[in-house]
């Protein structure tokens, strides 16, 4: 094993196709889209279930079912059905993103102290106000935990895009294996791992910023 591929400055030139900056950018683009679509789907459902308590079996079971689907298999199935392109990749990654966000939103909503909700109602808040001003802010630490775990999973798994002809950091792994260039595979693995850690640190900062000091205990 050697780091020659990773350390070669030619592979860091952003104008060269297939260089680290280009692959990183396309990788982050897939991650961003999957997280965006996943959040748009999972957050409202999770909030609704958490707020009303109706259909909690959906939150729990959908979460578990989604986690058990192998992304690569699902991706290949989608490619067979829809042909090549970005869409099958996004579907496969979204299925990965939805369960942790859905489950954590629901869990965050259900584990907060119901007496606070009662107090809010007692103060005359409307259901919408209870949701946006009390339940959601208090559920945020758990919700963000789920979002961070979704982000980590999708950063690592977005490498499958390369298996169906798209870009992203998976190219280093797939192409490296295809031409027996393990230095390149190693470089891909390292960059993905570092990206995952950096993204998680970034989301930790976001969490610090969005979670009310009253909830996190930092006055």
């Amino acid at each position: 094993m050697n780091l020659s591929y990773l350390l070669d400055p030619a592979h860091w030139d952003p104008s060269v196709s297939g260089s680290f900056p280009q692959l990183l950018l396309s990788h982050l683009w897939y991650v961003f889209l999957a997280l965006l679509i996943g959040t748009v789907i999972a957050l409202p459902i999770g909030l609704y279930i958490g707020h009303t308590g109706k259909g909690s079996f959906i939150a729990i079971n959908a979460g578990n079912a989604g986690r058990s689907l192998p992304t690569l298999g699902l991706l290949m199935l989608m490619v067979t059905l829809l042909g090549l392109g970005l869409l099958p990749v996004l579907i496969a990654l979204t299925v990965l993103v939805v369960p942790p966000i859905l489950t954590s939103t629901y869990a965050g909503m259900r584990t907060l102290d119901r007496r606070v909700v009662d107090a809010a109602k007692g103060m005359g808040m409307r259901p919408w106000q209870v949701l946006t001003r009390v339940e959601l802010p208090m559920a945020l630490p758990v919700l963000m935990g789920g979002f961070r775990s979704a982000a980590l999973q999708v950063v690592a798994t977005a490498t499958v895009a390369a298996a169906v002809g798209l870009g992203g950091l998976g190219r280093l792994l797939i192409d490296g294996l295809a031409v027996n260039d393990y230095s390149r595979v190693l470089a891909g693995a390292i960059v993905v791992a570092v990206l995952a850690v950096v993204l998680d640190l970034f989301l930790a900062l976001v969490q610090r910023w969005v979670v009310s000091p009253g909830v996190s205990g930092r006055f």
Binding site: V79, T80, G83, L84, G85, G145, R148, S149, A162, V164, G165, R171, I174, D175, A178, V179, N180
Partner: protein
């Protein structure tokens, strides 16, 4: 707290898997020990991890069994890097190979340029075979790289040979295994030998279902498909003629450990090679891939249809 617990669990799982790797040693090495103690008369037949290789390995196995040779099957090993190691350490004794691909893998820096005809490839191959191994007679059957287009594309751009691509390649997308980007028998050779540069290269799979479906869907215009793929006939695809012999000969040839070779074994395998042709291989492979028949059944049919058992 929750996150920390997950982290601890992950770290634990990682440690366990690392420990498992350490304790396992070389999984292939231990196999060769048990093989040696079982006696020297059994020939262990291996294969790569795709349907054609398995079919050929099964044909070899049954042909040997018909001559009274004891056979152990160790199929679906993996890619060439893996099974060549297994062959050299004695875990397997015999497997079906392709002369051109094997030469490219063994020759430093890929296959020597200018060598592409079956006999030249065989001659070069014999110079670079690993110590303790040899090849038997090569068959006429070839499974080689092709550049293939749909009938529609061929008519539209009037394509018959790879040369015909030159004026239109700038508008066309090509799909192949990821290794094509860097191989001489891929984009490099197309550029150097034919002067062809495509609009886009899509890294897919090596002559597999992804590439074939992308071609049929029109996501790519030109595909690298293997010449024994039955889809070429059933989907009326057009194989562009390789007028400048960019692609090496890929004759099927038994690669065997010298220790395991004897006149009975080589006799049985050379008889198989004498009967194998690209056409009949394509036909029997389609029985496995398209009709989903059992490899052993198809192998048996091949041998009895050709009077080998």
């Amino acid at each position: 707290m929750r996150i920390r617990a997950i982290g601890a669990a992950l770290a634990g799982a990682l440690l366990l898997s690392v420990a498992a790797c350490g304790a396992g040693d070389d999984p292939l090495a231990s196999d060769s020990d048990s093989n040696a103690s079982a006696g020297t008369s059994a020939v262990t037949v291996g294969s790569a991890n795709f349907a054609e290789s398995e079919l050929l390995a099964e044909i070899y196995s049954q042909a040997l069994e018909a001559k009274g040779v004891q056979v152990k099957r160790q199929f679906n090993i993996g890619a060439r890097e893996l099974y060549l190691k297994a062959l050299q350490d004695g875990s397997i004794d015999l497997l079906p190979e392709y002369n051109g691909a094997l030469l490219s893998a063994l020759h430093q820096g890929g296959a020597p340029q200018g060598v592409s005809k079956p006999d030249d490839v065989l001659a070069e191959l014999k110079k670079v075979l690993p110590a303790g191994t040899e090849v038997l007679e090569q068959s006429a059957a070839e499974d080689k790289d092709t550049l293939t287009v749909t009938q529609e594309t061929a008519t539209k751009h009037n394509l018959k040979t790879i040369d015909d691509l030159k004026p239109v390649a700038g508008q066309l997308t090509i799909g192949a295994g990821p290794e094509w980007q860097e191989r001489y028998q891929g984009l490099k050779g197309l550029k150097e030998l034919y002067g062809i540069t495509f609009k886009e290269f899509k890294p897919l799979d090596a002559g597999g279902p992804l590439t074939l479906n992308a071609l049929l869907d029109g996501k790519i215009d030109v595909a690298n498909i293997f010449s024994t793929d039955s889809a070429i006939a059933t989907k009326k695809l057009v194989v562009l003629e390789d007028t400048k012999n960019l692609y090496l000969a890929e004759n099927i040839i038994p690669l065997i450990r010298t220790e395991a070779n004897n006149p009975t074994v080589s006799g049985a395998l050379n008889a198989v090679s004498a009967k194998l042709t690209t056409d009949n291989l394509t036909q029997y492979l389609a029985k496995v891939q398209v009709d989903k028949q059992d490899t052993a059944t198809v192998a048996k049919a091949f041998l009895s249809d050709n009077g080998l058992v």
